[in-house]
């Protein structure tokens, strides 16, 4: 069959096509349907939320380092119900904690990693003119935006924001006075957003791959986004169901998660808040049910946090080692296997709930199994470095740092995955250390690397290398000073989610000074981000102008102009070969792009 006849020369006449594409301000910059602009909207909003989430954490770090001391300078701004006299109330601390986690995970990292990078890069890398459903794509951004607004608004409402952690465990989440209802409504928006996004990503990848771009020629980044989308598509609905049930508990007086005869502060809880005020709670609910539904989403969610990062790192490593990725097929198969397995490990978060040894045995086994593909991926990326003449560009530094940082995060997960050791470690700072190593110096470093790497594609200009290096080295040192001591604190028995940082317990006295160290380190970390912020805005205007392929890379996005016009490619791109043909023996250059025709 003649394949070429079935493909559309979508943008064969770019100049003619674009001549009548004059859209107004609103449709170009606000309600755009162009995947690149939507990607940038996602990325910038995500970065802003990361900054905001970081600020919340800075307030918490003050309280942890100096419990009960008034917050300097800005302490007076929070009002009597949050911080009277500048001294943080426990309720306010809980709001900060819950919203820090929620914002970082659902409104910062995922929108940046999937909404931002996925939207911007994926269609370009598969040689598509746009996403399969551009309008749905726009709607998914705005659903995310509304979710963000809802969450932010909850701070200013009576009772303040939600107080029960990003995990929102009932019964506490149902009976406390914070705006749990707003949290749930906000989550509905965010869930809707990622459902719309994920079905768009999958359809785009399946349907809009360029001619010649078979599955085993897809860049690893595309694979990572593809698997991530399945996790979002299938794991979020159970959380949506759980959210609906908790919302019913909040506003309709049901007791899905509320056990009978619940006693709080020496009083039996008999009535729910909301419209059914005064009616007697029916009881008979099951708090563990929430945990099951929540972790059924939230374990896959942690892979949603890490897989796009692995995708980004792989692209950067292949480009800067000037070698093909080591074990491309092993990488892809591990990734897909990881995606499947991530649906059957969730209860390793629940070893301490008394769910029984049979359940624990099952879930600790699956958890050990899932660490195998993670190790395969990490090993393949490390092997890719062997014998390479590495270009130490800014994106590459971030990608290189990702490997050991993710390594620490993953390895510290193993003792957590084994029920006997988890009994000691559960709910301590050790867990906080574990997942922050994976998400912060792991994923967020990879995301920074990605910004430096694809910035030239988005703007036509490179970011400044010196500022980038300062940003990198400063962040690397500071972030380890923030998170490594958490392992020490956790092993000493310091609990997480403590308003006073553990000062009330004798057994953690000897490690409390680490809270002060972490406070300073967090400040340093924040300051080093200034290099990034300055660099980002400066480079948009004054960065070194570059052509379409400044990194001498091989994947399809580098065939489009920088920045690509609406519709992306000037001529229909065709993939002639595998994605990482670097240093091909006998070739004239050390890179042979996918889009370069075979020489006759």
């Amino acid at each position: 069959m003649d394949k070429s006849a079935t493909h559309h020369p979508t943008v064969a006449h770019p100049h003619v096509e674009h001549a009548h594409e004059e859209l107004g301000f609103w449709r170009t910059y606000v309600f755009s349907v162009d995947h690149k602009w939507i990607g940038i909207q996602y990325a910038v909003t995500g970065l802003l939320f990361l900054l905001f989430g970081f600020t919340l954490m800075m307030l918490m770090r003050w309280q942890l380092a100096y419990p009960g001391r008034p917050i300097p300078l800005i302490g007076g701004l929070f009002g009597q119900d949050k911080a009277p006299g500048g001294i943080m109330l426990p309720e306010f601390y809980n709001q900060l904690g819950a919203m820090h986690g929620t914002i970082m995970v659902f409104m910062g990292v995922v929108p940046l990693a999937v909404g931002g990078f996925g939207n911007f890069v994926l269609p370009l890398q598969i040689g598509a003119p746009d996403m399969a459903f551009p309008k749905i794509n726009m709607m998914s951004y705005w659903a995310y935006f509304l979710g963000g607004v809802t969450m932010l608004a909850s701070f200013f409402m009576p009772g303040g924001a939600a107080q029960s952690g990003w995990t929102s465990y009932p019964p506490l989440s149902v009976i406390n006075q914070g705006q749990q209802t707003m949290w749930l409504i906000g989550m509905m928006f965010l869930i809707t957003s990622s459902l719309l996004g994920s079905l768009n990503f999958i359809t785009t990848t399946v349907q809009l791959r360029a001619k010649g771009l078979s599955w085993m020629r897809l860049p690893f980044f595309v694979w990572a986004q593809f698997v991530t989308s399945f996790l979002l598509l299938l794991a979020f609905p159970p959380l949506e169901a759980a959210g609906i049930l908790q919302l019913m508990d909040k506003v309709a007086g049901t007791s899905f998660f509320m056990p009978s005869g619940l006693v709080v502060s020496n009083r039996i809880v008999t009535s729910m808040t909301g419209i059914a005020q005064g009616s007697v709670a029916s009881g008979g609910g099951n708090p563990l049910l929430w945990q099951h539904l929540f972790w059924f989403l939230a374990h896959p969610e942690v892979y949603v946090l890490i897989l796009p990062a692995m995708g980004i790192v792989s692209e950067i490593i292949a480009n800067n080692t000037r070698k093909p990725l080591w074990g491309y097929r092993a990488l892809v198969y591990s990734l897909v296997f990881l995606g499947f397995m991530s649906f059957i490990v969730w209860a390793h978060h629940m070893f301490m709930t008394g769910m029984g040894t049979t359940m624990s045995a099952f879930f600790q086994t699956t958890t050990m199994i899932i660490s195998i593909p993670s190790v395969v991926i990490l090993t393949a990326l490390l092997m890719s470095l062997v014998g390479a003449s590495i270009r130490f560009t800014t994106p590459m530094l971030f990608a290189l740092a990702f490997l050991p940082m993710f390594g620490i995060g993953g390895l510290t997960g193993l003792p957590l995955g084994l029920a006997p050791s988890d009994i000691h470690l559960h709910d301590t700072y050790y867990v906080i250390g574990h997942f922050h190593y994976v998400v912060a110096p792991g994923t967020i470093f990879a995301l920074f690397g990605g910004v430096y790497y694809w910035f030239p594609k988005a703007t036509g200009r490179k970011m400044n290398d010196l500022l980038g290096q300062l940003h990198f080295w400063g962040s690397l040192v500071a972030i380890n000073l923030v998170f490594f001591p958490m392992f020490i604190e956790g092993l000493a028995g310091m609990n997480r989610r403590m308003y006073d940082g553990g000062a009330q317990f004798a057994h953690t006295k000897s490690v409390l000074y680490w809270n002060v160290v972490q406070g300073y380190a967090a400040w340093a970390l924040g300051l080093f981000q200034l290099f990034f912020i300055v660099n980002f805005f400066m480079s948009i205007k004054w960065g070194k102008a570059v052509d379409r392929n400044p990194w001498e890379a091989t994947t399809l996005e580098w065939a489009a102009p920088s920045p690509p016009p609406h519709g992306n490619f000037l001529t229909e791109p065709i993939a002639y070969r595998a994605p990482y043909e670097y240093s091909v023996p006998g070739a004239a250059k050390d890179f042979t792009p996918q889009f370069e025709p075979e020489r006759a």
Partner: protein, 194 residues
């Protein structure tokens, strides 16, 4: 700029974009209702007693028949398009819409009978899960009706300019509608009979 395969199928996957999109959406819906059915099982297994006979079985049975019929008329609405019979298509689509509306009216009578005795979702775990699941299902019916109203009204003019795309859209609506129907076919025995 136009997106490839919005109407015609991509040869190597055999799919148009919308077809894949709607199937993926339905997959996520399966997970949504799957989680709720699992909730039902867990709550029921953990309950010391479970009420019976609180629901109006004849009305539920009638509604089941109504929804199954509406699935048939939905298929006919699509098939008439394929046979180029516009008038019949309009008729069948309108019939589907009306059947859906009748379903909701019946549901309204059922709900108000409960509320009249003060037995809302707060009354018991059984009624809690009953109202939640049928309520969510009802919202899906409502969503389907909005889509149908669109294709009966302003959306219909696509038939003039791009009949293939219009037929595809009706097909996708149909797939969704069958799913909503299927959910009810599970809900009815689980909530009314068991």
């Amino acid at each position: 700029m136009n997106i490839p395969y919005t109407v015609e199928e991509r040869p190597d996957t055999g799919l148009a974009n919308g077809k894949l999109g709607i199937w993926l959406f339905l997959a996520s819906e399966v997970m949504l209702f799957g989680a709720l059915f699992s909730t039902y099982i867990i709550l029921r297994v953990g309950a010391t007693e479970w009420p019976h006979g609180e629901l109006n079985i004849p009305l539920g049975a009638i509604n089941t028949v109504i929804l199954i019929s509406s699935s048939v008329t939905m298929v006919m609405a699509w098939a008439s398009l394929k046979m180029n019979e516009w008038g019949k298509h309009r008729l069948y689509l309108l019939a589907t819409f009306v059947l859906a509306a009748v379903f909701l009216v019946n549901k309204y009578f059922e709900y108000s009978a409960h509320f009249a005795t003060g037995e809302g979702p707060w009354h018991s775990t059984f009624l809690a899960i009953y109202f939640t699941m049928t309520g969510l299902h009802g919202l899906h019916i409502l969503g389907g009706m909005i889509v149908m109203a669109y294709f009966l009204g302003p959306g219909a003019k696509l038939w003039k300019t791009n009949p293939d795309q219009f037929a595809n859209r009706i097909e996708y609506t149909g797939l969704y509608w069958h799913f909503v129907d299927l959910v009810w076919i599970f809900l009815f025995p689980v909530l009314y009979l068991l």
